[in-house]
């Protein structure tokens, strides 16, 4: 099985197969990355597509200085924030504008988690999501966020404790109230 860096080398040399292989490897992770951060599924799909376009076009400039996942999600962050800036003049859409995924086993629990995530500071939320959902290592998170490793450690702990407090607050409220508030 080729490593990510090997695939990037092949993509640099124009291998179509390497593109497809890399795409299949990271198709779902990138999609989920955007899906949790962008309320509109169509927009999330477009942004995920943009990420792969950027990766393939930038393969010639790719340097193996860190984990490929850091590189990939770094680009995903760029695409995400570029899109947010582009849409900044429009009405702000809350993160939970869409109903929870139909695949969620417990829709209420997902709503609570999403509400609780929304109460966190943006930096705390992003770093926590990178760890919990993208399952990046501390070093990869540090690379993506451009922060020191120890900062990642402390920020992650703070984010988890904040999420714990938020979840405790929300789970103590009636579900109907939570829905009505939204």
């Amino acid at each position: 099985m080729s490593s990510d860096d090997d695939l990037m080398d092949e993509i640099r040399r124009g291998s179509r197969a390497a593109c497809e292989l890399l795409f299949e490897r990271y198709r779902d992770p990138v999609w989920r990355f955007f899906r949790r951060r962008v309320p509109d599924a169509g927009v999330a799909e477009e942004l995920a597509q943009d990420v792969f376009v950027a990766v393939f076009e930038g393969a010639g400039r790719y340097k193996q200085t860190g984990a490929f996942r850091s590189y990939l999600f770094g680009i995903a962050y760029n695409v995400l924030f570029a899109d947010r800036r582009k849409r900044a003049h429009r009405a702000t859409e809350p993160l939970d504008a869409d109903p929870p995924s139909r695949h969620a086993p417990d829709p209420d629990a997902a709503i609570w988690v999403r509400d609780a995530m929304n109460t966190l500071d943006e930096a705390d939320r992003e770093i926590l999501m990178l760890r919990e959902y993208e399952e990046l290592s501390y070093q990869e998170i540090a690379d993506v966020r451009g922060t020191p490793l120890n900062t990642v450690r402390s920020q992650l702990f703070r984010a988890r404790m904040a999420l714990k407090a938020a979840l405790e607050t929300r789970t103590s409220e009636p579900v109907s109230k939570s829905h009505a508030r939204r």
Partner: protein
């Protein structure tokens, strides 16, 4: 956290497992955090839709890796801004310090183009180290901060008199006071005063800074002295000096020089550090011959400052250690005149002298009267003469008319 996430931890994982198994508090924290992660995992999203396919042909906007740094969170940007501000401040202070030390910048950065100065050439990359040293020196120079200054004094002048007034934390624990006293005494027995003063000063482990005696046996004599005695013995010395006679003046004063000494120490330490830095620069740095000479001149100037401050500090320490007593002892003398009967010749001489003096004063008074009243008298005389002439003419006419009528 790192333990839960499978990241590296600073102790063996087995040991951590054992600790958590034994520690109820850590166990509770671990369970809580695991619960949070488990709850977070309940937020699931669907798999990527089938419509999301690998791009057939690369196109669209290109976003490269280096642009990552511009899309970080606001907090990261704020941190970056703060770091930049701190760097600017540090750079400004460094520049100011380097300017104060008057080290020619060219000596630090310009490569030597003079073969004579090859011996001074140093490896590259030392400019930053010099900046660091300069910043450190600048921080030492902040004498306005009492705590910092005293801390510097505590670090750099251990063993001398100043450090005795500072505690381990650098906070002064006793004021440094210069004590002075002025004592004036009048005595009938002047002969033994000098010996008594010398004995008192000697027994108090002090010394006589200055002593002088004026006058002779025909007039009242006076002793003036400046005495230096240990500060803690000043009261006892004054008490003994008061017993020399009747005290006519007794004043005491003090001056707290704690801050001055601390500041002086800080400035001294900074000057020494500057001298050391410039010596290092001269020893290691590269530069033109003119720059080397300029550094040497600067070192000489700093050395002069150091010596001046050393002398000032020594003088101040001496004044703190020894109180100054200004003593004046005057001899008590009563004037007496023994007037006897005057002889005849003396009385005649005195009468003649009085007569001559009286005559001289009379003539002198007349002259003064003429000088003062002359102009007025002349005017009066002129007016009187004119009136006399007019009356005389009128009288002559009257007599003429009467004689004509009688005829």
């Amino acid at each position: 956290m790192a333990y839960l996430d499978g990241e590296s931890i600073p102790m063996p994982r087995d040991a951590m497992d054992a600790h958590i198994a034994a520690c109820a508090t850590c166990q509770a924290v671990v369970n809580q955090l695991r619960g949070v992660s488990a709850q977070a995992q309940t937020w699931r999203v669907s798999s990527a839709p089938d419509s999301l396919q690998a791009p057939a042909r690369p196109g669209g906007r290109l976003i490269a890796w280096p642009s990552l740094k511009w899309t970080r969170s606001r907090a990261a940007m704020a941190a970056l801004g703060s770091a930049a501000a701190v760097m600017i401040v540090i750079a400004a202070q460094t520049r100011a310090t380097l300017r104060n030390t008057a080290v020619p910048a060219v000596a630090l950065s310009q490569p030597a183009d003079n073969l004579d100065s090859q011996a001074l050439r140093s490896p590259t990359g030392e400019a930053r180290a010099v900046q660091g040293e300069a910043v450190q020196g600048k921080s030492v120079a902040h004498g306005s901060n009492p705590v910092a200054s005293s801390a510097v004094a505590g670090q750099l002048s251990a063993g001398d008199a100043v450090i005795q007034a500072t505690g381990p934390s650098g906070v002064p624990r006793a004021p440094m006071v210069i004590r002075t006293a002025t004592l004036a005494v009048v005595t009938k027995q002047f002969e033994g005063v000098r010996a008594a003063v010398e004995a008192i000063v000697s027994q108090s482990s002090g010394f006589i800074d200055h002593l002088s005696i004026t006058g002779d046996t025909a007039s009242a004599r006076s002793l003036g002295a400046t005495l230096r005695v240990p500060g803690d013995r000043m009261a006892a010395v004054l008490e003994r000096l008061r017993q020399l006679g009747q005290v006519v003046e007794d004043t005491q004063g003090s001056e707290d020089v704690t801050d001055q000494l601390v500041d002086l120490d800080a400035r001294l330490a900074n000057a020494r550090a500057t001298e050391q830095r410039m010596a290092d620069i001269l020893r290691n740095r590269t530069g033109k011959l003119s720059d080397v000479l300029e550094v040497e001149r600067e070192i000489a100037r700093v050395r002069l400052d150091i010596e001046r401050m050393d002398a000032e500090k020594a003088n101040m320490n001496r004044r703190v250690s020894y109180a100054t007593i200004t003593l004046t002892v005057s001899e008590e003398r009563k004037a007496s005149i023994e007037a006897g009967p005057l002889s005849l010749g003396t009385r005649l001489r005195m009468a003649a002298a009085d007569g001559i003096e009286t005559g001289f004063e009379t003539v002198f008074g007349a002259v003064l009267f003429v000088l003062r009243s002359g102009p007025v008298l002349l005017l009066c005389a002129a007016a009187g003469a004119a009136a006399w002439l007019i009356l005389r003419r009128m009288f002559s006419r009257l007599q003429g008319s009467q004689s004509t009528a009688s005829e």
